[in-house]
Assembly symmetry: C2
Homo-oligomer: 205 residues x 2
DNA sequence: CCTACCGATCGGTAGG
DNA sequence: CCTACCGATCGGTAGG
């Protein structure tokens, strides 16, 4: 009997190969042959593990979003346990988001490239993918009802979406255009921006 | 002699058609025939106006970034003239960014889909495109040196990049997933986030 | 600015 | 009999 199921490792290799190639070249410009070659298997093996090239992308996105959402939730819970307060939990999520994209930049590139396209076969799957990520942030926003009461805070889902965008674009710009910077520096810039040390400088309320 | 140069209108139609199709399906999945058909010309006309499919995309991105940067600068200048202060200028740029994406969602989708890919033929052009947008924001950040002096403000280029990301992702999420919301509501959510009314709620400084 | 056409390569599946 | 694969090739379509 074989102890560790081999297909798990094969699928993981296919995920990694597909993410790396599609994130750089785009879905249609990446051939199934290339994905298979990079994963070290034959093309037929791709179709043994997934119904189609589309199916591979959907599974890949779902898999990555699961990891990201789990990472965000874990960071928030850790911060709360260590007494950081609700603001500390958000800060921890920002840092966890940066760290995730640091490890998996390909997933982030795929996410921004595909998420807002409206007429693709995997549109519904991607809406679910977005939901998992944004929900993790929304939960923390609701848990940490800030000062000033509800009347001072705008819509939670809009805020969560904007927060995800802040981290996503800052992290991608960092990895692609200024990779020599330490994560800590990017985190500081985001913390300052989100604490109003940039925009709060005299604008009308 | 022909009064209004026809090729200007033809290129504009090709820009619009290409942006609409490529932003939804991706570059490789969009055929030159489709672009030509939507623009109401024959395929050969595309190659009469542009050297290649790649060249059309590059010109399209440059054209759009020019419009966006101009719109941002104009908004900032208008706010300063009306005495809004540096904070008011940033707020005006956020609003102008939302309004631009409201008018040209296809450009925003193209931007996020292509900008961070590293091995494509038009990579350098896109870096220039990014530079034009981010520079417009950086100028305003430098002009409006906030309170607390330079030591309190983190890196300007990281902050500008994050600001662009905040507006970009919030606007795309808005247009795609909650199109019924008014622009004003999205703007309020972003203003609150950037004034620290969300993250400033008790985190460690 | 259009018609006609080429070199090459695509995603998906056959039998073993 | 089942699983996890491979070498070769199909019908259609791409950019130029």
């Amino acid at each position: 009997m074989h102890s560790a199921p081999r297909w798990t490792a094969t699928r993981q290799r296919l995920y990694d190969a597909a993410a790396a190639l599609i994130s750089e070249r785009g879905f249609s410009a990446t051939t199934v042959d290339e994905i298979a070659e990079r994963a070290g298997v034959a093309k037929g093996t791709v179709y043994y593990n997934f119904a189609s090239k589309d199916g591979l992308l959907e599974a890949l996105m779902l898999h990555g979003a699961e990891e990201l959402a789990a990472s965000l939730r874990q960071a928030a819970q850790g911060a709360v346990r260590h007494g950081g307060g609700p603001g500390g939990a958000l800060d921890a999520m920002v840092r966890a988001g940066l760290a995730f994209i640091d490890r998996r930049p390909a997933f982030a590139k795929l996410y921004v490239a595909e998420l807002w396209r409206c007429d693709r076969p995997w549109q519904e799957t991607l809406a679910a993918v977005r939901g998992r990520v944004v929900a993790a942030v929304e939960e923390e926003l609701r848990a940490g009802a800030g000062p000033g009461g509800p009347e001072g805070r705008p819509d939670v889902s809009l805020t969560a979406s904007a927060l995800v965008g802040t981290v996503l674009v800052a992290a991608l710009d960092w990895k692609v255009f200024q990779p020599e910077r330490p994560l800590e520096e990017v985190h500081r810039a985001l913390a300052a921006l989100l604490e109003g040390r940039v925009a709060g400088a005299g604008g009308p309320t």
